[in-house]
């Protein structure tokens, strides 16, 4: 019984951690390349799930109907990823690129501004007169996301530990994405250019790298991951709200910092830690203290290991 409960929390924690990881990678990539805490990223993620819900509403899919639903899920993943990638790229183009020369704080404020705009758009979006948004009467209310992926227990009805198709969906989507991203960053020409730009933008430019394009590509990739995350988050938790970007962004950014910001394996590790700590705290302590514990651990880790779990300890150049 004790062990069952522990395993259950472990599975929940890992699944949530994987979702956080996808968002955290978006933060860490952007930070690695232009040293910006991209505040809008969490809200981008929120809009991705609103798009997914809208598509479901337009298609009239609201339950699991076998094979064709797989197609529906793939369609959602594709649409949200393309949408978030495009939106992230646009935000970079409009709100960040013109400010790149004017200092980190200006960039940060611009990101906060972009975040506010996206939150507001999410509020308006929730007011669409569609059935999935409950007719759009209460725009600010959380929206139910149809349970497309069934919640049946794969280990059998009488097993105390639950592994559901939802958990498989999370792993099945996130793992290939992470492998693919690692491949892009370490093996392709674009990845090499990204690493070079992150290391030293001026030198990269001197070597003939079009850093503007590389930065744009980074936002595209990070945004796409956020889009994927938004769909699996919605399918996993079955409720979305225009305010969820803040919480998700906070968790993901904390994960990125915890793992050592700028490092992608670090972001994944940090996200898994955050997911596990959340699940264990929810299970063994009181839910209302979970945030305190997460941030308490973050503060402690930063005090004793200031560059994160997997971050490299950079000496200041004199």
């Amino acid at each position: 019984m004790e062990l069952d409960f522990f395993l259950q929390q472990l599975i929940t924690g890992l699944s949530n951690g994987m979702i956080i990881a996808l968002i955290a990678i978006g933060y860490t990539m952007v930070y690695g390349i232009i040293e910006l805490i991209n505040f809008a990223h969490g809200d981008l993620f929120m809009l991705g799930s609103f798009l997914a819900l809208t598509i479901l509403g337009a298609l009239g899919i609201d339950a699991w109907t076998g094979g064709s639903t797989w197609f529906g899920v793939l369609l959602l993943l594709f649409c949200s990823a393309v949408f978030c990638a495009g939106l992230n790229w646009t935000i970079e183009r409009v709100a960040y690129r013109p400010l790149r020369a004017s200092g980190k704080l200006s960039l940060l404020v611009s990101a906060i501004g972009a975040s506010f705009i996206l939150v507001n758009l999410g509020l308006f979006w929730g007011g669409l007169p569609m059935e999935v948004f409950a007719g759009g009467v209460a725009a600010a209310a959380p929206k139910d996301f149809p349970p497309l992926v069934p919640n049946t227990n794969l280990l059998g009805e009488d097993s105390l530990v639950q592994v559901t198709p939802k958990d498989l969906l999370v792993v099945g989507v996130t793992l290939p994405l992470m492998v693919g991203l690692t491949w892009i960053v370490t093996r392709t020409r674009l990845g090499k250019a990204m690493r070079a730009t992150a290391q030293n933008p001026i030198a990269a430019r001197l070597m003939g790298i079009d850093t503007d394009r590389v930065i744009g590509a980074t936002f595209l990739l990070g945004g796409a991951l956020g889009g994927f995350a938004s769909v699996i988050y919605a399918l996993y938790n079955n409720t979305i709200s225009f305010q969820m970007g803040y919480r998700a962004g906070m968790d993901a950014f904390t994960a990125a910092v915890l793992g050592g910001i700028g490092s992608m394996p670090g972001a994944v590790a940090g996200a898994l830690v955050i997911g596990l700590v959340r699940a264990m705290s929810d299970g063994y302590l009181e839910t209302r203290w979970t945030n305190t514990i997460v941030f308490g651990i973050l503060v402690l880790i930063l005090i004793f290991r200031p560059s994160g779990l997997l971050g490299s300890r950079a000496k200041e150049k004199v």
Partner: protein, 355 residues
């Protein structure tokens, strides 16, 4: 020194004269009381982020600490009941202590890590306030709080004009204090650390202790702001009145106004809080939809456009005037000052934070 004082003097002259053009009560007073309180909190953040270059994303927590310290020390359901003025002073000290306790282990962290720690501290504070209901009264907030007395004369809650001048006076004292501080040995050390910590260390300025003093001083000023925020309402309000959005509002105040500029903080508070408390409310009146908050169409209520307008304004300000509306003058420009510490990057004084 002279040209530098001007924007500040204009601010206070205008603020002192304004009530003549308005009635004895109303929207105007609510808005300006918030402007003064947030200007005070902004001054605190300006010491930490503007002068010393440490990005702090948890200013609301220090406001909350000031508000709750003030409430617990003065409210008659607790044993202390020290009275308004002692409560105000003590809440400043408690704010400084909190700043010191948070700062001591974390100020060695580099810019963005410190930012995330302060953000985390803000979340922790919020959770503690919500969860320790036995002490903080949860969402009810602690009330009622005492009214200030000056020589036997008590300022009643309804007496908005007196509150207005009281806050203006306290803000004035705070501005004088911060301006003197900026020009003191400590203040110069702050600016020097912001521009180049390594070089300052070589010149004999201990970076950690200097940062700590800035952090504690800024927290104290913000805590006094928080105490006044609570005193104005005669209640701490619910813990969510001190959430992350408040921290961001304060940050936006000093960035829009001009990092490291006292005059900028005042102008920034007037613009940001004024937009929130006057323009949006007026717009809502104009559309006549304030009463029906749950109107069937989200687009109909101007209040629902708040974040869109706020966000656009932020992006526009940093795009058009990245150094802020009232940028600080570089040291030495006024002639009376010795030359600035060398080796600042081109025009970096306006945005040297976070390095």
């Amino acid at each position: 020194m002279r040209p530098r004082m001007n924007p500040i003097l204009i601010f206070f002259a205008v603020a002192a004269a304004l009530p003549m053009f308005f009635g004895a009560t109303g929207l105007f007073y609510d808005a300006f009381q918030s402007i003064f309180v947030f200007a005070l909190v902004g001054l605190g953040l300006n010491i930490i982020t503007g002068f010393t270059g440490m990005l702090n994303l948890g200013m609301a927590a220090f406001m909350a600490i000031g508000a709750y310290a003030f409430a617990i020390l003065t409210c008659d359901i607790y044993p202390f009941q020290v009275g308004f003025w002692s409560g105000l002073l003590l809440s400043g000290f408690i704010g400084a202590l909190a700043g010191f306790l948070i700062g001591a282990p974390t100020l060695g962290l580099s810019g963005d890590y410190l930012a995330i720690v302060t953000m985390g501290f803000g979340e922790i504070t919020l959770d503690v306030l919500k969860n320790l209901e036995a002490i903080t009264k949860g969402t009810q907030g602690i009330n009622p709080l005492p009214r200030p007395t000056i020589g036997g004369w008590t300022i009643e809650l309804q007496d908005e004009r007196s509150w207005y001048y009281l806050l203006l006076l306290i803000l004035g004292v705070a501005v004088l204090f911060v301006r003197r501080l900026e020009r003191s040995r400590t203040g110069r050390a702050w600016l020097s650390i912001r521009e180049d910590a390594l070089a300052s260390q070589c010149m004999g300025i201990p970076p950690k202790r200097t940062r700590m003093i800035a952090f504690a001083t800024g927290s104290a000023v913000a805590a006094v702001g928080g105490a006044l925020f609570a005193a104005l309402l005669s209640s701490t309000g619910e813990p969510n009145s001190y959430d992350f959005q408040v921290s961001i509002l304060v940050l936006c105040i000093i960035i829009v106004g001009g990092m490291g500029s006292v005059a900028g903080t005042l102008v920034g508070a007037a613009v940001m809080v004024g937009m929130n408390a006057i323009v949006l409310v007026k717009l809502a009146d104009l559309f006549g939809s304030r009463e029906q908050g749950a109107s069937s169409n989200v687009l109909a209520s101007p209040n629902n456009w708040k974040f869109l307008i706020f966000g656009l304004a932020l992006i526009l300000v940093v795009r058009v005037k990245p150094e802020g509306l009232v940028p600080p003058r570089l040291e030495g420009e006024s002639g009376a000052q010795p030359p600035a510490p060398p080796k600042s990057q081109s025009g970096a004084a306006a945005q040297g934070a976070g390095a």
